[in-house]
């Protein structure tokens, strides 16, 4: 009846670049405004700084030369958080472990997201037989339970930091691939992509220049949430004895605690701190990831 709202028909988008409406500065300030976004960012920043400090402060924790009296010392003036079964200071080990958790988490996620986006974007954009095949493969990886598969792989391969990172990465790419593909499918019909196709751009170029930047925010949100899982998985693997035996990680600390009987002897200071830190690091990623998802998809936000 009334000739009121100006209508945006899809043909009238101006310009060549995809109208993204999200810039990195915009995203960051939007996250900062949210309670959980802000908390997550602060928490994560703390851990990054903590890891850096830990790396430099305790690069060479004195492992050798402890006497029997140093074992399982309660927290006190000598050792802020006590010592473990070999007399190592819990405080120092925690600081060093921070870096490992972060590095493995981020690196494994990078592999998973890299592989996942590759498959997700090409599959979603190109469609057809290729899409069917790759989605079949992806679904297989999704259905197979991750941890048992990881355990089998880690058992067969050598124990090392790189192995762990690769194994986690190569088993986690399937879910992101599906989500990214879904996003690509939604975006593929937008005008700037159709225009690029009409102009005769090669598919590869379109994917690289147009599709990738448009799905990037969603990919980022997924990546952050995936990092949370990766950090947890690394801890679990270390606890199960599949991690790098020479490196200190929080999971490894808990494995040591368990196998040395700290739990059954009630030595809580060996058990509690590493778990708390793992949980907090995972929580920071989860909060940021959730906040990011809400920011990018306001429809799903709370009302």
């Amino acid at each position: 009846m009334s000739i009121s709202s100006v209508e945006h028909t899809s043909g009238f988008d101006s310009g060549q670049s995809p109208p993204s409406g999200v810039s990195s500065r915009g995203i960051f300030s939007a996250l900062w405004k949210m309670g959980k976004g802000r908390f997550g960012i602060l928490l994560l920043s703390f851990f990054i700084l903590y890891a850096i400090w830990g790396y430099f402060a305790y690069k060479n924790p004195p492992l050798a030369g402890h006497t029997v009296e140093d074992r399982f010392v309660r927290p006190g003036t000598d050792h802020i958080l006590g010592t473990d079964n070999l007399g190592r200071s819990i405080w120092e080990e925690l600081a060093v472990g921070a870096g490992i958790s972060l590095v493995v988490g981020v690196a494994a996620t990078a592999i998973a997201i890299g592989l996942g986006s590759l498959i997700g974007i090409t599959s979603g954009y190109l469609g057809g037989k290729f899409d069917q095949l790759s989605m079949g493969l992806t679904d297989m990886f999704i259905t197979i339970p991750a941890l048992p598969l990881i355990i089998v792989l880690a058992a067969v391969l050598s124990r090392g930091l790189v192995t762990i990172t690769l194994v986690i990465g190569l088993t986690s790419w399937a879910v992101p691939a599906r989500l990214i593909r879904a996003e690509v499918l939604t975006q593929s019909q937008r005008s700037f992509i159709l225009r690029a196709q009409a102009m005769g751009m090669t598919p590869v170029r379109i994917m690289r220049v147009h599709v990738l930047p448009t799905v990037a925010p969603i990919v980022l949100a997924n990546a952050i949430l995936l990092t949370a899982v990766a950090v947890l998985t690394e801890a679990i693997l270390a606890f199960l004895g599949l991690g790098d035996p020479s490196l200190v990680s929080w999971g490894k600390m808990l494995q040591t605690a368990f196998s040395s009987g700290a739990t059954s002897r009630g030595f809580w200071w060996v058990v509690v701190p590493p778990g708390v830190l793992i949980a907090m690091l995972v929580l920071s990623f989860t909060l940021i990831g959730n906040a990011l998802t809400e920011v990018l998809d306001p429809r799903r936000g709370k009302r």
Binding site: G35, T143, L147, A228, L232
Partner: protein, 277 residues
């Protein structure tokens, strides 16, 4: 040399990689899982009782997870946007961030060591002398509590979050407003209209997290020495007992796939819109 050769033949490790793989596939189809490297007895002997114990643990945990998780999720969703919602959501997120094995260790520290009320490990008391089946069941139940709560605590967070989001979406649907406009009491509207609809999408999502449940189960069995498939796998890794490793992996994978299938079938019964197509 001969001894090595005969061992190889005994365990099926002779021949090229491809022939070994072929042999493996045919054996799987005949449910022939082979001989354990360690115990020298058939793998099936170890797998079956372990499977049993794992199922007991998983079953118990699922009940806990549903009960607590749905309660938290529904409360948070019903009161979305309020302080209660934020607190519950944050709690759920925090729970989800906890490493399962660590939760187990903490629970042992607190309840077994500090307070001494619940057993540290295993499925039965060591002495194992029972006056009857109920006595045995009660003992197993005592041993079930800590491991069950361990697995549940982490997954509760996930289900609560899913249910909360699902319910929050449903709350905005017109039929909720319409139901209230007819004078139906808020409680009725919540349960018969809200939750009844919100349960559907959360059900599928929960079914997909069966894999996650196995992750928690494996860790918990390791911490509590619960004689299930997870512990079997865990020990097999250390012993490099590949037949056991393969078999337990296979069984776990089958459980997850079957569970997802069952959940799928169940879902189509719940949603009348799917049923008629």
């Amino acid at each position: 040399m001969e001894a090595v050769e005969s061992l190889k033949i005994q365990f099926g490790l002779d021949g090229s990689i491809w022939s070994q793989y072929l042999r493996y596939l045919t054996k799987i189809f005949r449910f022939d899982t082979g001989i354990s490297f360690r115990t020298r007895s058939p793998v099936a002997d170890s797998i079956v009782p372990a499977l049993n114990n794992t199922l007991i643990l998983v079953g118990f945990s699922i009940i806990l997870i549903f009960a607590i998780g749905l309660a938290i999720g529904i409360t948070a969703g019903w009161r979305r946007g309020t302080r209660t919602d934020s607190v519950l959501t944050l709690t759920a997120l925090t729970l989800w961030s906890l490493p399962t094995f660590w939760v187990g260790m903490i629970l042992v520290l607190v309840f077994s060591i500090q307070f001494g009320v619940l057993p540290v490990a295993g499925i039965r008391s060591v002495a194992g002398i029972y006056s009857g089946p109920f006595d045995e069941a009660a003992d197993i139940l005592r041993h079930l509590i800590l491991p069950g709560v361990t697995i549940a605590l982490v997954s509760v967070g996930q289900i609560a979050l899913v249910m909360r989001n699902s319910l929050a979406e449903v709350m905005d649907e017109d039929y909720m407003l319409a139901a209230r406009s007819r004078g139906l009491r808020p409680r009725v509207v919540l349960w018969r209209h809200g939750v009844r609809n919100a349960f559907l999408p959360s059900f599928t999502l929960m079914a997909l997290t069966l894999g996650m449940l196995m992750v928690g189960t494996i860790q918990t069995e390791a911490v509590f020495s619960w004689p299930g498939l997870g512990l079997l796998m865990f020990k097999a890794v250390g012993d490099r007992d590949f037949p056991i490793l393969e078999a337990s992996f296979f069984v776990i994978a089958v459980i997850v796939v079957l569970g997802t299938l069952v959940a799928d079938l169940f879902y189509s019964r719940l949603d009348p819109r799917i049923r008629s197509t």
